[in-house]
C-alpha cells in the first residue's frame, strides 16, 4: 500500500513536471555519456601505456674475448642468473646464448650478419620486470666487471625514461579527467534537481503542514531522481554502444586489434555509468530536499 502511494506520487509529479524531468534526465545523460567516454578512452590509453611499459627489458651482456679479453664462464653466468631470478621485481628471465642472439640478428638484419666469420655476440640474460618502472633499479643492482663476468647492462635508458614519463602523464590526465567529469556532472545534476525542487517548494510546504513526515515527502522525490538517473544513464549507455559500433570502426578502422591494449570491458563501463546515474539521481534529490524540509 505504502509503495503504491509512493510510486503513484512519484509518477504523477514526473508527468506533471515534464520539462524539469526532461532537463534532469538530459543532464544525467550528458554527464554519464562524457564519463563513459572518458572511462572507455582512459582505460584504453592506460592499458596501452602498460603494454608499452611491458616492452621495457633489461639486458645483461656477458664478457666476450673481443670486449674483455676472455669469455665469461658458465659459473659466472649462472650466478648472475640466480641473482636475477631471486629478485622480487623480476617477472621472467630468459637466457639468450650467443648462438641464439646471432639467429635473432640474422632474422632482423640479415645484411649485417652476412660477412661474419665468427659470432661476435655475447651470451646474455633478458630480464622482464613485473613493473616497467623497475628496470633502472634492476639494471643498477647487477655488478659489472671481470669478477662477475658481466660486460654491461642495458635497459634503453632514454627510451625507458621517456616512456615512463609519458605513461605517468597519461595516468594523471585520466584520473583528473574522471574526477573533474564526476564532479561536474554531480554539480550539474544537483543544480537541476535543486531547480526542480525549488519550483515545488510550495508543494513541500503544504505537504509538511498537513502532517506529512519527512520521508513521505522525500520518498517520491528520491524515486523521481532515481528514475531520471536510470533513464539518463541508460540513454548514455545506448549512445555509447552506438558510438562503439558505428563511429569507432570508422575512425580506427585500420588500427589492428592484435595488441593487448584494451579498454575496460564495455559491460563494466555500462554498469559503472548506471550505478553512478542512479546514485546521483537519488542522492541528489534526497540531499537537496533537506533544505526545504525544515518547515
Amino acid at each position: 500500500m505504502r509503495l503504491k502511494v509512493l510510486s503513484a506520487e512519484a509518477w504523477r509529479s514526473l508527468a506533471a513536471n515534464a520539462s524539469t524531468t526532461l532537463a534532469a534526465t538530459m543532464t544525467v545523460l550528458i554527464g554519464m555519456f562524457l564519463l563513459g567516454l572518458s572511462i572507455g578512452l582512459g582505460t584504453w590509453v592506460l592499458s596501452w601505456s602498460n603494454h608499452v611499459k611491458k616492452e621495457l627489458v633489461v639486458h645483461v651482456y656477458f664478457c666476450t674475448e673481443l670486449k674483455c679479453g676472455k669469455d665469461a664462464t658458465k659459473v659466472q653466468e649462472e650466478r648472475v642468473g640466480n641473482y636475477l631470478g631471486n629478485l622480487p621485481e623480476v617477472r621472467t628471465l630468459n637466457f639468450v646464448s650467443k648462438a641464439e642472439a646471432l639467429r635473432i640478428m640474422q632474422r632482423k638484419n640479415p645484411e649485417l650478419t652476412n660477412g661474419l666469420t665468427s659470432n661476435p655476440l655475447p651470451d646474455s640474460w633478458e630480464v622482464i620486470p613485473k613493473r616497467g618502472e623497475d628496470v633502472e633499479r634492476i639494471a643498477a643492482s647487477v655488478p659489472t666487471g671481470p669478477a662477475s663476468g658481466v660486460e654491461k647492462v642495458n635497459y634503453g635508458k632514454k627510451t625507458a625514461k621517456r616512456i615512463l614519463r609519458v605513461a605517468r602523464v597519461i595516468e594523471i590526465m585520466f584520473l583528473l579527467a574522471v574526477v573533474v567529469l564526476l564532479a561536474a556532472s554531480a554539480l550539474l545534476i544537483a543544480n537541476t534537481i535543486r531547480l526542480s525542487i525549488f519550483s515545488r517548494r510550495r508543494e513541500i510546504e503544504v505537504m509538511k503542514l498537513v502532517g506529512a513526515t519527512n520521508w513521505f515527502v522525500r520518498g517520491p522525490f528520491m524515486l523521481e531522481g532515481l528514475i531520471c538517473g536510470l533513464a539518463g544513464s541508460l540513454l548514455a549507455v545506448v549512445l555509447l554502444v552506438l558510438g562503439k559500433e558505428i563511429a569507432l570502426p570508422a575512425i580506427l578502422g585500420h588500427i589492428d586489434d592484435s595488441s593487448d591494449a584494451h579498454a575496460l570491458g564495455f559491460i563494466w563501463n555500462a554498469l559503472i555509468l548506471l550505478g553512478f546515474g542512479l546514485l546521483l539521481g537519488a542522492m541528489g534529490s534526497g540531499v537537496t530536499i533537506r533544505r526545504f524540509l525544515r518547515v
Partner: protein, 259 residues
C-alpha cells in the same frame, strides 16, 4: 446568503477564568486545548515578536486573535505548529508540551491541528478531491477510507459537485472551502485559521464564517487570526488582542477594538 447566527451559545466554559496563567506556575490544565505560559519569541538578532504572552484556551472555544501587522499574530500561529521554537516560556497543545516534543513527532502534532490560510495553500495540480485526499494519504489511510471520507467532507463544505475541479477552476470562496475541508477531514480537535477571509469579499466571508461556526459547534476548538473588524464585532466571541508582541486584551465577548 442567510444571516450569520451571531448569538453565542452559553457554555460552562465561559464561566471559567481564561484571563492568563501566571508564568512559571504549572497548573494542571485538564480541559485546556492551548496553554501559553510566558511565551517569548525573539528573532535573531534582536527583534522581539512576542513578549511573555500567557493565555489559556479551553476545548471547544472560538477565539479571535486580532492585532496590527507585526504584532506577533503569525509568530503565534507558527509557534503553535512548531514551525518555530519559543525563546522562552511553555506552550501546551492538547496536553502536550511542544517545547519537549521531539522533531520526529511534529507530523503527528500537525495531523491534530487543521490549518486554514489566507492564500489557501492548495496544490494547484490536484483536484479538490485529491487535495483533501492528500491529508488522509499522508496518514496512511487506505483507498476505501479516502473514497468514503473525502466526498463526505466536501459535501459538508458545500462542494459536493466540484470534487473534480482544479483550484484555478474554483472561486476564492470555493478554494477556501476546499482548504477547510482538507483541514477538518481528519477531525482534528483544533482548527487554526490565519486570516481565512483575508482574500475574500464580504459575502463570501460570511459563508466561510458560517462554515467555521458550524465546525466549532461540532466541538472543534477554533483559533482565528483576523483583520475583519465587522466579523469580530458581529460574532462577539472571545478576542485576544496583541500589540507589539504583548497581550493587550483578552475579552470573553470582545469586539475588534476595546470599548
Amino acid at each position: 446568503m442567510q444571516d450569520l447566527d451571531v448569538t453565542p451559545t452559553e457554555t460552562p466554559l465561559d464561566t471559567l477564568t481564561t484571563n492568563g496563567v501566571e508564568p512559571g506556575v504549572s497548573v494542571p490544565h485538564a480541559g485546556a486545548m492551548i496553554v501559553f505560559e510566558g511565551v517569548t519569541k525573539v528573532y535573531e538578532p534582536d527583534v522581539t515578536a512576542l513578549q511573555s504572552v500567557s493565555f489559556l484556551i479551553e476545548k471547544g472555544e472560538f477565539v479571535f486573535i486580532v492585532g496590527a501587522s507585526g504584532s506577533g499574530k503569525s509568530t503565534l500561529i507558527r509557534l503553535l505548529l512548531k514551525e518555530l521554537e519559543p525563546t522562552d516560556g511553555k506552550i501546551i497543545v492538547g496536553g502536550r508540551d511542544l517545547t519537549r516534543l521531539k522533531r520526529g513527532k511534529v507530523p503527528m502534532l500537525r495531523r491534530n491541528i487543521g490549518c486554514v490560510f489566507q492564500d489557501f495553500k492548495l496544490l494547484s495540480d490536484r483536484t479538490a478531491f485529491e487535495n483533501v485526499a492528500y491529508a488522509l494519504r499522508v496518514q496512511g489511510e487506505g483507498r476505501n477510507a479516502i473514497r468514503r471520507k473525502v466526498p463526505e467532507v466536501l459535501a459538508l463544505v458545500g462542494l459536493a459537485d466540484k470534487m473534480s475541479s482544479y483550484p484555478d477552476q474554483l472561486s476564492g470562496g470555493e478554494q477556501q472551502r476546499v482548504s477547510i475541508a482538507r483541514a477538518v477531514v481528519n477531525h482534528p480537535p483544533l482548527l487554526v485559521c490565519d486570516e481565512p477571509t483575508g482574500n475574500l469579499d464580504p459575502d463570501t466571508s460570511v459563508g466561510i464564517m458560517q462554515l467555521l461556526y458550524r465546525i466549532n459547534r461540532s466541538g472543534t476548538t477554533i483559533l482565528m487570526v483576523t483583520h475583519d473588524r465587522e466579523m469580530v464585532d458581529k460574532m462577539r466571541r472571545r478576542v485576544i488582542a496583541l500589540e507589539l508582541g504583548r497581550l493587550a486584551r483578552d475579552e470573553r465577548r470582545g469586539g475588534y477594538e476595546s470599548e
